[in-house]
């Protein structure tokens, strides 16, 4: 109602208000951008008007546009104008706009300090409230420092409305200005017992947030919070307190016992699910007693189900058994409509599997894989299945045959991205579990035979990756193949050429391995004719690969083609070749740790970066014939030469292959490893090699024929069921045999081999000289780190919030000498000397910003662990009116050598660092010296300035290298350069008569200002002013002194300094 009236009155006042803008945007859907740009133009016009109401309206519209994503940072100053309006209506809009649009980078934010301070102390609580709300959104470290004291005062305001806001905003202030935490904390603690519940809950909020990050500092508050917890009925507060206890208990185990009772009470009594959840979470973290799971899981609402699963995953880490009993419930969750619940459930399953239930769980998952609609979820399922099975080095798999068939089944998934994953699993298992190779090879041969099913949609999916694994396994372990010829034929089908190049390459390579196997069998059987036929087939089929566009395939194929042709020649001479061909691939391959290669130490005196031969010149590279030429050349070679070349080629390629395999974790190195020459060094010897000896071979006679995937699956499931039955029966009666031989073999193998079938994981050893790489753990950017402050120590006197008593006088001062020069550009500056003559009673004349500068100089020296720097002077350049020289003293504090220091400053529009020509604004300037430990030196940097009438603060960084005994580290030091107005003055001597003339000329402007609380002898003060602010003393009479200086642009600045009552108040 009130709203409507307000709205109505605004409506009448302006042509286009926010509502019109919104309506307009909605009506201009098709040319929104254009419409808005005209609106922005209008707003710009409105902002130029003097009427604050119009301005506020414009700012309001801008806030809306900002939300739509338009840049309104240009209006920052107008927003401040509206903020400073005395009318609440506009102030409110101004602060809203500021809270939406300002951020730490907004430069005008500094201008708001005084306005905010004024509003904070406004008699109207809503003014204060609005200022606090706004401040909470855009508080910067500077604002926090300047306003911390004001906000702290507000914490004891009479109105609870203000108190609670002030308490809450203190958290933001602490984050930005950690020094304020200790001085403010006692009062914050008081607020925990504030009579107003709102203030109390605000204080609880703040302390809980603080304590969560650094619990150890808040342990002493535990009794107080305990009292609050047992007395409070506000669920919002309770949740926070309980969360706080969750953070505290790990540090103080006794708390846990005390908490159990109240927490269990809450758990049983509360109806608020959020509170219950918090309690449960804390109980899990704290007491490790699991009594409540059931209650959460009974509840059916999705949201709670999700959280229940989340909580269970936490319990799982400590108490896997208690969760495992809820397996069915979790499996049910897999049927949930919500994907996130299903994923959570999957996560849980991962932790729940055991040797006993693995097959069952995976079977369930397989059913889900079939049903799953979205590919993302299905892919997730797929990876989870593989994760579950392969976790802790296949710890839970008792039957690898089963696992292989699962993998094979997974290949039937369409459109999965994880072909690669499946392939690597197949390789891994086939290589590392020797006993399974026979079965694996049979399955892979089947896959190859049905390659068309997988390869049919090469473009769309990555599943054909498994063919890579299949081909390699069949080739490498061809001795296990039932019918190598059939597989060989399958691998040489024309369809294969549609596969990706890297798979074809493996095909070609492994075709030869199979060929060798076929030859061996034929020759031992004495079927020379059949052997020759195989050779012919190979010669007939290989050219299709020779024509491949893939270089790798082409090279391998043409090589092998020549080899086979040579074999054919030999065969024609009735020479038995099988042995020799097999010898090409002889040797056992053993698995190697993925990181083994890296760990081989570099032998003494070997420089890996040095050229072994001269860098290849261009003429040399011509010697290596490009592929096309090589092909053309081929027919020209005479036969004997060809074979020679072939053998060289083969040797070279074998070498290459070995190297490639050495880098591939899934390849097994042949025993004469490339690293053989290093064998006396420990690195290689220590790489564990998997040795698996199965007591019972897992040979399955009569494998189902490849095409019948479905049948296979059914059979497999049947088999599984039977296995399970077997198991049960076995438990009852140890020696109960099954009628089918292979089944009993399974069972036996499962039961007996379980321990033996552990796949040894290759431990990841680090070489001795490896550098620990975890040093970057510490996150220096964590804002909460800074708040890790001991709060129990009594406050020291020095720890007070900065109270800027001299600030008001400073603002006055700002209007004085410096600023005025802008107005009267060329005129000499006013002098306070007039005061001296006209008004002897006037106590003080003082240069503005003066004390500030002293302050800055004292503040500047920053204690860094390595480097101490101190801006000791900023001085104008006599020769050039637009330059100042900054002298910086660097002092090396540490015991190490510092070098390569680079000084860089972020230029502002007004002030720029003078860099050597050609350097960009981001380049630093090298400091022309190095610093041995304990030494200090001075460097000077030149800056150009445009206007000398405003103070400037520049941010900069210093980078340097610390050279220690064990290497060198890069370090960085951030600093701020303060240019006050006096930085631009040049010490110029002036005689008293010239000075008097200047004063008489009436060209100077006058301003005066009084400063209290300066406690130093007058002559010290004068010396300081002279040194830091570049004045020279013209005349000194007792406790008065006239001083003079000139700016780099020629303005005269005269200064009268008087001490009012000596010596306590020197001015």
């Amino acid at each position: 109602m009130a709203l409507k009236m307000v709205k109505g009155s605004i409506d009448r006042m302006f042509d286009k208000n926010l509502q019109d803008l919104v309506r307009g945007i909605r009506n201009h859907k098709e040319d929104e951008a254009k419409y808005i740009s005209t609106c922005i133009d209008e707003i710009k016009q409105e902002l130029k008007q003097d009427n604050i109401a119009v301005k506020a309206n414009a700012v309001c519209k801008l806030t809306y546009l900002q939300m739509l994503g338009y840049d309104v940072s240009w209006a920052a100053f107008n927003i401040i104008e509206v903020m400073s309006s005395s009318k609440f209506t506009y102030k409110r809009i101004g602060y809203l706009a500021a809270s939406q649009c300002f951020h730490e980078g907004t430069d005008v934010i500094m201008l708001t300090t005084n306005q905010i301070r004024k509003d904070l102390s406004s008699p109207n609580q809503y003014d204060t409230g609005v200022a606090l709300t706004g401040l909470s959104c855009f508080v910067t470290p500077d604002l926090a420092r300047d306003l911390a004291n004001d906000i702290m005062t507000l914490m004891s305001h009479t109105k609870p409305y203000i108190r609670k806001k002030a308490v809450l905003i203190m958290y933001k202030v602490f984050l930005k200005y950690p020094e304020s935490l200790r001085p403010a904390f006692p009062r914050l603690k008081e607020k925990l017992e504030d009579p107003d519940p709102g203030v109390q809950s605000a204080a609880v909020n703040v302390i809980c947030e603080l304590a969560r990050r650094n619990p150890k500092n808040y342990l002493s508050l535990a009794p107080l919070f305990f009292k609050l917890m047992t007395s409070s009925t506000n669920n919002w507060v309770l949740i926070k307190i309980i969360k706080l206890f969750g953070a505290l208990t790990p540090l103080e185990p006794r708390l846990g016992k005390k908490l159990i009772e109240p927490l269990t009470n809450l758990i049983h009594s509360t109806s608020a699910m959020s509170l219950l959840y918090e309690c449960v979470n804390t109980v899990i973290a704290v007491t490790k007693i699991v009594l409540i799971i059931v209650r959460i899981n009974i509840l059916s609402c999705t949201v709670v189900k999700y959280l229940g699963l989340l909580a269970m995953s936490k319990i799982l880490k400590t108490h896997p058994k208690s969760v495992q009993s809820h397996k069915d419930l979790i499996l049910q969750c897999l049927d949930d409509k919500d994907e996130s619940i299903r994923l959570r459930a999957l996560d849980l399953l991962y932790g729940m599997v055991s040797k006993k239930n693995l097959m069952e769980i995976v079977k369930k998952l397989m059913i889900h894989v079939d049903k799953a609609e979205g590919t993302t979820y299905r892919d997730e399922l797929l990876t989870k299945i593989i994760d579950i099975c392969s976790q802790s080095n296949y710890q839970y798999i008792t039957n690898f045959e089963w696992y292989i068939s699962i993998l094979v089944e997974l290949t039937r998934l369409e459109g999965t991205r994880h072909g690669h994953l499946i392939a690597s699993q197949m390789l891994d298992v086939a290589i590392r579990v020797k006993a399974i190779r026979g079965f694996a090879v049979a399955q892979m041969a089947m896959l190859l035979d049905n390659a068309h099913l997988l390869a049919g949609n090469t473009q769309r999916n990555g599943i054909c990756e498994v063919l890579y694994a299949a081909a390699w396994i069949c080739g490498e372990f061809s001795e296990h193949l039932e019918d190598p010829l059939q597989t060989l034929e399958a691998m040489l089908r024309p369809k294969v050429t549609t596969l990706p190049g890297h798979i074809q390459a493996v095909y070609v390579q492994n075709a030869v391995k199979l060929f060798a196997a076929v030859l061996t069998r034929r020759e031992t059987a004495g079927e020379k004719q059949a052997a020759q036929e195989t050779t012919e087939m190979l010669i007939e089929k290989l050219p299709q690969f020779v024509q491949s566009a893939d270089l790798e395939v082409q090279e391998r194929a043409s090589c092998i083609l020549q080899l086979v042709k040579y074999i054919q020649k030999l065969q024609a001479k009735e020479v038995s070749v099988a042995e020799e061909v097999t010898a090409l691939f002889a040797g056992e391959l053993n698995p190697v740790a993925p990181k083994a290669q890296k760990k081989v130490p570099v032998p003494e005196g070997l420089d890996l970066d040095a050229w072994i031969n001269e860098p290849p010149s261009e003429s040399e590279s011509e010697d290596e014939k490009p592929k096309a030429i090589f092909q053309e050349d081929e027919p020209k070679h005479s036969r004997p030469r060809l074979t020679e070349l072939d053998e060289q080629e083969l040797a070279r390629r074998r070498e290459a292959r070995k190297q490639e395999q050495a880098n591939n974790p899934f390849y097994i190195k042949s025993s004469p490893s490339p690293q053989k020459s290093y064998q006396d060094t420990p690195g290689v010897d220590h790489i564990p090699v998997v040795q698996i000896d199965l007591t019972v071979p897992l040979k399955v006679p009569g494998m189902p024929i490849s095409d019948q995937y479905l049948k296979l699956e059914e059979e497999r499931r049947l088999k599984q069921k039977q296995e399970k039955k077997d198991k049960k029966k076995k438990k009852k009666k140890e020696k109960h045999g099954k009628s089918r031989r292979h089944d009993s073999a399974h069972t036996e193998s499962e039961e007996d081999i379980a321990p033996a079938q552990r796949v040894d994981i290759v431990t990841e050893e680090m070489p001795e000289n490896a550098l620990p790489s975890d040093e970057d753990d510490k996150d220096s950017n964590d804002p909460y780190k800074a708040l890790d402050i001991d709060l129990d120590k009594p406050l020291a006197d020095s720890e007070k919030l900065p109270v800027r008593t001299h600030r008001p006088s400073r603002t006055e001062g700002l209007k004085s000498p410096d600023v005025d020069t802008t107005a009267e550009e060329q005129r000499p500056k006013k002098s306070k000397e007039k005061d001296k003559k006209k008004d002897k009673e006037r106590k003080v004349c003082y240069f503005s910003g003066h004390k500030d500068h002293l302050f800055n100089l004292l503040q500047n020296p920053s204690n860094h662990q390595h480097l101490n720097y101190k801006v000791y002077d900023i001085q104008g350049n006599l020769q050039d009116g637009s330059q100042v020289v900054v002298s910086v003293i660097f002092e090396n504090n540490c015991t190490d050598f510092l070098k390569s220091m680079e000084f860089n400053v972020l230029d502002s529009l007004n002030t720029r660092l003078v860099r050597p020509s050609g350097a960009s604004v981001h380049d630093g300037i090298a400091v022309p010296f190095q610093l041995p430990p304990g030494v200090s030196n001075e460097a000077r940097f030149v800056f150009t300035v445009q206007s000398i009438v405003m103070p400037q603060k520049l941010k900069g960084t210093l980078t340097f290298i610390v050279k220690t005994e064990d290497g060198s580290t890069h370090e960085k030091l951030d600093f701020k350069l303060h240019f006050t107005c006096t930085s631009y003055l040049i010490t110029t001597p002036c005689y008293s008569d010239a000075f008097a003339k200047l004063l008489e000329s009436e060209e100077l402007k006058v301003n005066a200002l009084k400063l209290d609380s300066i406690n130093m002898p007058f002559h010290h003060l004068l010396a300081k002013i002279c040194f830091h602010h570049h004045f020279s003393v013209v005349e000194r009479i007792d406790s008065c002194a006239s001083m003079y200086s000139r700016s780099i642009q020629g303005h005269h600045v005269c200064l009268l300094v008087k001490s009012v009552s000596m010596p306590s108040c020197g001015q």
Partner: protein, 154 residues
Amino acid sequence: MQFMLLFSRQGKLRLQKWYVPLSDKEKKKITRELVQTVLARKPKMCSFLEWRDLKIVYKRYASLYFCCAIEDQDNELITLEIIHRYVELLDKYFGSVCELDIIFNFEKAYFILDEFLLGGEAQETSKKNVLKAIEQADLLQEVRMTCCEQWGEI
């Protein structure tokens, strides 16, 4: 709480409140990403999701999505409660609130939010107190307005 977003089913942003300092560019990126993610979820799905290192809690009221980002240790259910409480406040203030109310009086929606949350923490848990504060502030505004108008007429 790190930030709160209100957006429509069409993905149009209706309100945004950031309690962490971020550049405009980042804000836009996050908003875009989140709006897409949340809108893609089906109605029956759970209100929580993990996103980057934050947890997102969202809830749909009529055509508007209320979406909050909280930290890892924060309580999702209480965040849901906060969202609900905010909706209740809007509802009380506007009288059965609809999306258009928030579009056309978006500054009011902000004022209410600011009275309810400060710096990402719940400031006032009592609905009555929040509304009282808002009404009084509005009244103040109105009084000033009327004075202002009168002066204008004179």
